[in-house]
Symmetry: C2
């Protein structure tokens, strides 16, 4: 049975821990958390340590901490020649401390507290310094997800940037939609089926095929009427830039 230690207690760490607790074919033998209480709702305290010198032997150590803490945490591990991976989309594998074998175990998903995830569908992007370690990572990843990919650091960075567009920026578009609803006393509820359908469409159509709306049609009259309607300068500026981009993009095709 593959033994895994998770280091971290934040958002990603917690979702990974929940996934591993359900997994068959691997064993979550220990979790490192600076504050043991932060995980008491998920784990018995005897598997949690907050002392680096107490880390036990395992096949894989997964550092699931903030990007800026990865270098520091990986240097503090009192381990040598173990397989140590981080879970970040944007940090290079090389950033991990040299005393251990390095890898990446990047679950490409948006994790929020108070929102369960079906981890089985979460793509896990793997990278390692050698084939043996990569195979071990694949084995562990496949115990929690059916979508496992081998992705190098540069590709992973591109995915991370793309994820900002299709998730963070998309969510911000939802927020502006919600603001416009509030400003006009319309329930945001009304937009929810549209939000779901817009996401569903690109499961089967390409985004280019799926594009609709006044910018796509270069419908100047509707665009101007929308710009007149918007009073918030920030909303207006975003509307203008994205409309112009969609129009220019249409002309390129």
């Amino acid at each position: 049975m593959l033994k895994v230690v998770v280091i971290g207690s934040g958002n990603v760490a917690q979702h990974v821990i929940i996934a591993f607790k359900k997994a068959v074919g691997m064993e979550l033998v220990q979790v490192f958390a600076r504050d043991k209480n932060s995980l008491s709702h998920l784990l018995y305290t005897d598997v949690i340590t907050s002392d680096y010198s107490q880390l036990i032997t395992a096949d894989l150590y997964i550092i699931a901490v903030s990007d800026y803490a990865i270098v520091d945490v990986s240097s503090r591990l009192q381990l040598a020649d173990k397989l140590v991976v981080h879970t970040s989309g944007s940090v290079a594998m090389e950033a991990l401390n040299d005393k251990n074998r390095k890898g990446v175990f990047y679950p490409l998903q948006t994790f929020s507290k108070n929102k369960d995830i079906d981890f089985n569908k979460v793509p896990i992007c793997l990278e390692a310094q050698n084939t043996t370690d990569l195979e071990l990572l694949k084995k562990v990843a496949r115990t929690i997800s059916e979508n496992v990919y081998e992705i190098d650091s540069n590709q992973r960075k591109s995915l991370h940037v793309a994820a900002v567009f299709v998730s963070n920026f998309v969510n911000y578009m939802y927020q502006i939609g919600s603001e416009i609803c509030t400003q006009n006393e319309v329930p945001f509820e009304i937009l929810k089926p549209l939000i779901i359908e817009t996401a569903n469409k690109v499961m089967t159509l390409s985004p280019t095929e799926a594009q609709t709306g006044p910018a796509k049609r270069d419908d100047t009259q509707t665009i101007n009427s929308h710009l007149n309607f918007l009073s918030d300068e920030n909303q207006k500026e975003i509307y203008k830039l994205l409309t112009k981009s969609i129009i220019d993009n249409g002309k390129k095709l």
Copy 2:
């Protein structure tokens, strides 16, 4: 049985026709299409007319044509004091010709050819000049959807603008994500679970609660590394503006 005539043969018209064909409690008695063949895959040709003088008597006439054609089509109808509605999000009810009673029957959804819709979930926003007509519109709308709303012209316009943000602009974010994947030889597939989860999150969390990512954390290092990574000026400009907006927005809260 309520009798309905649909005027139009485009995208929206076709989805509405499909929905009405399945509906119980109303009867689609006729469809007007300039080119009868455009609907031959959906209807027997004997219910289609391309002659305004052949329009038959019905309780409701739904004009489902492009925004710019509504004024013209509604003036061509050889009818008087009938209930005539349009299906546009951005055209005022008053734009309809004065010889008939006016209303709006706006299905708030993104319609594409080659993509079926579960019409039962599509919000239908209704408006009419008097209560009797509004009740009739509600009856008809409820035969095809469980989400029926009474929305005045100004609110409808705000919904239409909000829909551009949560659907058209969102889809454009998907397109940029897809471009970045292509440029870096990563399958767009990997982003699909993230796209679905990002949409699902705002079904239960507010967009403000659901926001994640480097801009939300004001993580300058990751933001700069993303900007260095992007080589396309259009992508860069959008990344900058949306990141700045999310950061400024966080400071307002």
